[in-house]
Amino acid sequence: MNGSALWRALRWLLLLLFAAFFLLPLAALLDFSTKVPGTDERSGAAWQALAQDPTMTEGITTSLQLALLTVVGMVVLLVPTMIWVRLRVPAASRLVEFLCLLPLTIPPLVIVVGIKNVYAWVNYLVGDSPLTLAFVYVVLVLPYSYRAIDAALGGLDVRTLAEAARSLGAGWSTVITRVIVPNIWPGILAASFVSVALVLGEYTVSSLLHYDTLPVVIVLLSKSNAPESMAAALASILFAALLLVALSFLDRRRRTSEGK
């Protein structure tokens, strides 16, 4: 009895500690972004400017588009590949895992130096849009997405399910889209979320390749208008958190609606 009460108290204490650890910096951001520099007054000017500053809105749009493109690219590249490897060439699974984890072991700076040469060609072929960053981002998110999808696939007897579907008349694309994907959907959502979070926060590559994504704009702005850059930072964190909640709701809705 006594022990469990102590245990509960300890749990609350830990929860509060962690909450403070995460929330204090956010509160500080909010505090700073609503202050009028040099006075004790409060103002929403920095937040208003977020929506009005064209560099900022452009940075936000670019980053959101990049996040979307990266998720789509990652899902289209990774999901069929991983299912295929599991079904047909299990011997290659080590190789695929190694390739997917590789970006983690190479420092971003090195990637940028290497990729600059490639980008000369990319820019030549598909133009100089900041959205071309999606190519690098798909590579950068591979290690995290791979883990999430691999875990989901690991909980499934992919081979038997695929064979059952095929014997019922399903072609390979139907097997993947109607049988495997619905069952690894939570894993795909997790992979997508990690990708979105990573793209919204990625600074090194975009800054060194001279593209104005949200993090680059925030850093630039912090040198001229600190409160606005803090507001943007907080907004992007809140946005990412909202996205997580939305995605998990999407997952729950889908599950209950299957019952009909």
């Binding site: 499934l156 007897d157 038997t160 399910l161 064979e163 059952a164 579907a165 095929r166 014997s167 019922l168 008349g169 399903a170 072609g171 139907t174 049988v179 619905p182 069952n183 959907w185 299957e258 019952g259």
Partner: protein
């Protein structure tokens, strides 16, 4: 024969014939199939029986199109399917591993194949519901696979396989993952359902009791080919090879001497089966053809008795050290005790004699 008759009574003989000819398949140095020939009559249930690695599952998977043969042909209902892909073969399959789609309800699982065939929603629901009624799960249609027992999942899998009105039903050790009691129930149910719908069926198992219980004909496989294929009773009473005699049911190996059509086994003259050795050899005698008579002068001695309910099994050693197993009515078994002296008697049923 009686099977064909009962099918006709039910008016459900829409099955088609299956013809597998000269099938070969190797994995590296291992010949999983070494020239398998198998014919299945329309509406017939054939069981492939054999030890693990004998090629029975490979044969079924090749028929399903899930694996490709190195050589040989497959034809179903006169149509050559040798190189048709699995999703166009129109075969229903039940797997050893649970294979229901976890994200779909029982009803949607059964309707899955119909949906792929573009049937209307109403038709899918009716047909899937009928199939679930057929396997006794009509009330469970809104559940998910993880809410069902293993036996229920396999019933749903059977309903799902039959819903598409397959030309051939393939059962790949569907009962192996279930516990003993459910296994017996479900195998009888599979047999009943198969008779009802009349679909030509290939059933693969390593369990000889299961094979004998459900089959119209049992094919015993060894090293990638058929050793013998025959109705269960025939397979049991007149095994064509020593392997069949010993794999199907229990057999004693008792010294015997063959002269012409007759073997002398433990003092009894017994007819021999075709394919037997001549001269001195070992007769493969079924335990139920052996009995032990208490006799203080007997040359054999009881070494163990086990009570199995309606029957008992007793083992005795002969003077030369040979062990003989007898299956006795339990009433007879009660009269014996370990270390009793007994006389071994053999019923004059035909036996297979192999070279010593």
């Amino acid at each position: 024969m009686s099977d064909a008759a009962s099918r006709e009574v039910r008016g459900a003989t829409q099955g088609v014939a299956v013809e597998m000819t000269g099938l070969r398949r190797s994995y590296g140095d291992v010949h999983a199939l070494d020239g398998l020939d198998l014919h299945i009559d329309p509406g017939e249930l054939v069981v492939l029986l054999g030890p693990s690695g004998c090629g029975k599952t490979t044969a079924l998977r090749i028929l399903a199109g899930l694996e490709t043969q190195d050589a040989g042909t497959i034809s179903v209902g006169g149509r050559d399917l040798s190189h048709v892909s699995a999703n166009k073969r129109d075969m229903g399959m039940v797997f050893q591993a649970y294979s229901l789609f976890p994200h779909l309800t029982v009803l949607d699982n059964v309707a899955f194949g119909l949906k792929l065939r573009g049937r209307s929603r109403a038709e899918r629901r009716t047909r899937a519901g009928d199939m679930l009624d057929l396997v006794g799960l009509g009330t469970q249609k809104d559940r998910y696979a993880n809410q069902l027992s293993g036996g229920q999942q396999q019933r749903v899998a059977l309903a799902r396989a039959l819903a598409i009105e397959p030309s051939v039903l393939l059962l790949d050790e569907p009962l192996s993952a279930l516990d003993a009691k459910v296994r017996v129930q479900l195998r009888d149910e599979i047999r009943r359902v198969q008779r009802d719908v009349g679909t030509t069926t290939l059933f693969v198992t390593h369990d000889q009791e299961e094979a004998l219980a459900v089959a119209d004909r049992v094919g015993v496989m060894k090293d990638g080919r058929l050793d013998q294929i025959a109705p269960p009773a025939e397979l049991y009473s007149t095994p064509a090879t020593p392997f069949v005699a010993e794999f199907v049911g229990l057999s004693n190996r008792v010294p015997a001497r063959v002269a012409g059509e007759i073997a002398e086994v433990l003092g009894t003259r017994v007819p021999v089966l075709a394919g037997s050795a001549t001269g001195a050899g070992l007769a493969l005698v079924r335990p139920e053809a052996v009995s032990f008579a208490p006799d203080p002068e007997g040359e054999a001695r009881i070494v163990s008795i086990s009570f199995l309910g309606p029957v008992s099994r007793a083992t005795a050693t002969l003077a030369d050290g040979t062990e003989v197993l007898a299956q006795l009515a339990s009433s007879a078994g009660h009269r014996l005790q370990v270390d009793d002296r007994v006389r071994v008697e053999v019923e004059p049923r035909p036996v297979l004699v192999v070279g010593a």
